[in-house]
């Protein structure tokens, strides 16, 4: 039975939200038992289109509430309030190996949520569109200020929360892909933490001199935070993902300058030649390059490069010397780094040394390497451009399974925010 388009009422609340906020998708004025498809469409900055969809049946009151009702089929199934976002995938015919990452954080991610008649699996453009709304997802809360930083030859962006401050600070490090990736720091600032995204593999100084930066580059970044008039110098944290963890652990344990209130290390390892330069860490990984494997799709599996975990203490950060709270977040299906094994080794080192009360490990079954802020699309593999000279493009297998990985991202982010708030804000228990 066809539905008069006039009647169907679709609403998404909030229509403008932060990327880590949940929304409620409500479809009303349907006939009871009516079959419909809820569809999400997003065109990212690179011009690629991403979509997600789910099949629902209206209840006796003629309503579908995505937060409460089960999807029968689609890019996700079951009751999934945010499935329309985390199950987004490139539309049929797209290039392979795509990964969605927002570059310009000052504009929102725009998603069109639509309702179609019937249970569609594809070909949405020629079906009966009943209603459609536009939703904005923001990385920056109102009042957050974006400040490019070039002091001390850094290539960085500082995000200051709304208000007079002063605020706790945070140094935010991504991994081997290099470049200046701002979105996580912008989001952390939206939660009250003055966060600096730091490009440390491809900064201006490296482009000019050809040399990879060393420890003093990170100490300079820390000092910029510490001395900033709107930042509390005694409350600074570091957050690193992948190779960013290697730097974070090195700074946390060995630096005389960097004094952290706490650290968060996502999908990383403590395995590195201690006492060497950052460049030497990169070379150490490359030494085992022959351990690279390929799966049946010719995707690159790098996890064996750091295995077995060395017993030689000069090849691991001495975790027993860590003096600040540390949260480790790892995916047990990480195909890029052996992060679960490293987390277990770090735990063991700290138990032996007697400082394991500082450690929290969040370990997620069937989650992969790229544990990012929640509700973003999942990439089990994607094309990756190395920062080697010359750079090569490979298809890297990150690992993880869609639903488990998305759940892991949601929980890990929530717990990361609580951890940061407790350590940076003192005895705060709840957050916005």
């Amino acid at each position: 039975m066809s539905m008069k388009p006039l009647c169907v009422k679709l609403s998404v609340q909030p229509s403008r939200g932060l990327v880590d906020e949940k929304f409620t998708v409500l479809v009303q004025n349907l006939l009871p038992g009516f079959q419909l498809t809820v569809h999400a469409l997003h065109q990212c900055e690179d011009g690629h289109s991403w979509e997600a969809f789910a099949h629902y049946t209206a209840d006796a009151t003629g309503t579908v509430n995505v937060s409460q009702d089960p999807s029968l089929d689609g890019t996700y199934s079951g009751v999934e309030p945010m499935g329309l976002l985390w199950s987004l995938r490139p539309v049929p015919g797209s290039k392979s190996g795509l990964r969605m990452r927002k570059k310009n954080v000052q504009t929102p991610m725009v998603v069109t949520i639509s309702v179609y008649q019937g249970h569609q699996m594809e070909g949405f453009l020629d079906r009966v569109l009943l209603a459609s709304v536009v939703v904005e997802r923001w990385y920056m809360a109102p009042g957050v200020r974006r400040v490019p930083i070039t002091d001390g030859k850094l290539t960085a962006t500082l995000f200051l929360p709304s208000g007079p401050g002063p605020f706790p600070g945070l140094l935010d490090l991504w991994g081997n892909g290099g470049k200046l990736v701002e979105y996580r720091a912008a989001l952390l600032a939206s939660h009250g933490i003055a966060s600096m995204a730091l490009d440390y593999l491809t900064p201006q100084i490296t482009k000019e001199t050809g040399k990879i930066v060393d420890n003093d580059y990170f100490e300079t970044a820390y000092r910029v935070l510490e001395q900033h008039p709107q930042i509390l110098g005694s409350r600074i944290a570091m957050l690193g993902l992948s190779f960013g963890t290697s730097v974070t652990l090195r700074m946390a344990v060995y630096s005389q300058v960097v004094k952290l209130s706490c650290a968060v290390c996502i999908s990383g390892s403590h395995v590195q030649p201690i006492g060497g330069s950052v460049e030497e860490i990169l070379s150490y990984f490359k030494k085992n390059a022959d351990k690279t494997r390929f799966d049946e799709n010719k995707q690159v599996i790098c996890r064996d490069l750091l295995l077995p975990i060395p017993t030689d203490p000069s090849l691991k950060v001495d975790m027993g010397r860590l003096q600040c709270p540390l949260m480790l977040v790892v995916g047990e299906d990480d195909q890029n780094w052996p992060t679960y094994e490293c987390a277990m080794d770090m735990k063991e080192m700290m138990e032996r040394a007697g400082n394991s009360h500082l450690l929290t490990v969040l370990s997620y079954k069937n989650a992969g390497h790229l544990i990012e802020p929640p509700f973003m699309p999942f990439a089990r593999a994607s094309t990756f451009k190395t920062v080697t000279n010359p750079p090569t493009k490979v298809m890297v297998l990150w690992g993880g399974e869609l639903v488990a990985h998305s759940r892991a991202q949601e929980e890990a982010w929530r717990k990361t925010l609580v951890f940061l708030r407790e350590n940076l804000y003192g005895s705060m228990k709840h957050g916005a």
Partner: protein, 428 residues
């Protein structure tokens, strides 16, 4: 180094529509500490508006405006939205200000701050402990704004996002004139293709010639738009805009509104006159204008007594669509409640009273605006080319309650009459 970090103010959602509620919280305060929550907004005219409430943090060091009681300030009691609706111009501002958004494509920015102690003023001279900026929007994402200048009609049309077609509305403000888009933008954000109509300029002589056919043309522009359901176009008015709506609904042979929402309107003007003439008619009764102790003009006397002579009133017995009247019983600008009572009697006699729904609010004034807008008790107005201050009436808290309640009921009325598959129904 202090044991806990700085306090944090949060507003959730940080970006919202102007008619959406928010939750303001302060955390990480010392337990049991007196604080002041303060809101600040700088209008497009560069005036500052503020509100504030006095609170004491609980044992966890938290203040939650939605749950806790304000014990002083511009509002008291449990008022989740008090920081918005109790706003008023800061001390030292010009007299008679009214807050109306002109550019609806960008949000209204409100800064919410927390100050130490129970502060009664001088907020600009001291530093808050923390603050958060929040955005309040009249336009939902995806709503389209279209300038209309055709067939002599001037207005702005707002179309909701989506395939349509949508029910339509002609949106008309009052005797202050000009082109105010904000309510039409908000209505479009609720799914109604709405046109804000510019039709009146009190300084212009040719306004007096304004006849029903200007509005009929405007109505048809909405009706004929490809994304509008031609049999579901309604009228929405306030003050003079309501007078136009009532007249069109009763008299026009050209337009058949699906339903009408009339805020602070009346039916008492001579039959056969032009719309512009209606306004000028008022000036025949200028001797009935009173002044209050501040020299603000009270016009409601001009509308009394309600004439018995039906030639002095619009024939509301001819209205054939559901009509919702929204009025405040402290309306000092016009005796709108008395008019509504008279309209009900006329419609009862004519047999169409089942189409009428009346909402009347105690201690509310004339300017019943979308919810959480500040209360405008008296504001500047151009009368006969001169600047005067008109008393609109109302007391802030009951007036704000009226704005909140009436908007909910207006949206439900529109939903029932314009979106329901069973077609228009009269009563809410």
């Amino acid at each position: 180094m202090s044991h806990t970090g700085p306090p944090v103010v949060s507003v959730h959602p940080s970006r919202a529509m102007v008619d959406e509620a928010f939750k303001v919280q302060v955390e990480n305060l010392p337990p049991g500490s007196p604080v002041t929550l303060h809101s600040l907004h700088q209008s497009e005219d560069k005036d500052y508006w503020e509100a504030f409430g006095h609170y004491v943090s609980d044992h966890r060091g938290t203040v939650s405006v939605a749950d806790d009681l304000s014990c002083g300030g511009t509002y008291t009691g449990k008022e989740a939205m008090g920081l918005l609706w109790s706003m008023r111009p800061v001390p030292g501002s010009r007299e008679g200000l009214r807050l109306r958004k002109l550019n609806v494509c960008i949000p209204q920015l409100v800064n919410i701050s927390v100050y130490s102690g129970h502060v009664g003023g001088g907020f600009r001279e001291q530093d808050p402990l923390a603050s958060a900026l929040t955005e309040r929007w009249y336009m939902a994402p995806g709503v389209r704004r279209i300038d209309i200048k055709e067939k002599g009609v001037r207005g702005t049309l707002f179309i909701p996002h989506g395939p349509g077609p949508f029910p339509g509305l002609l949106d008309m403000w009052g005797g202050g004139g000009g082109l105010l888009e904000y309510r039409a933008a908000l209505l479009a954000s609720h799914g109604y293709a709405s046109m804000a109509l510019e039709y009146f300029n009190p300084a212009e002589v040719n306004t007096a010639e304004l006849e029903l056919n200007y509005f009929e043309t405007a109505f048809n522009i909405v009706r004929d738009h490809p994304q509008v359901m031609s049999d579901r176009v309604g009228l929405f008015g306030l003050s003079l805009g309501s007078i136009v709506s009532i007249s069109l609904a009763a008299l026009s042979s050209v337009v058949k509104p699906c339903c009408c929402v009339c805020i602070s309107g009346n039916h008492t003007h001579a039959r056969g006159g032009t719309i512009g003439g209606v306004f000028n008619e008022f000036f025949k009764n200028l001797h009935k204008v009173r002044m209050d102790e501040n020299k603000y003009e009270i016009w409601r006397g001009m509308g009394l007594p309600i004439p018995d002579d039906i030639s002095q009133k619009v024939d509301v017995g001819k209205i054939s669509c559901p009509i919702l009247l929204v009025n405040g019983d402290d309306d000092q600008n016009w005796p709108t409640v008395e008019c509504a009572e008279d309209m009900a009697q006329m419609m009862r006699a004519a047999g169409n009273e089942h189409l009428l729904t009346r909402l009347e609010y105690p201690d509310a004034g004339h300017l019943i605006e979308p919810p959480y807008s500040p209360h405008f008790r008296a504001t500047k107005f151009i009368k006969d080319g001169q600047k005067v201050i008109l008393l609109w009436g109302g007391t802030t808290k009951p007036h704000s309650d009226a704005q909140e309640d009436s908007w909910k009921k207006i949206l439900a009325f529109l939903q029932q009459n314009m979106y329901s598959s069973s077609g228009p129904r009269a009563k809410l």
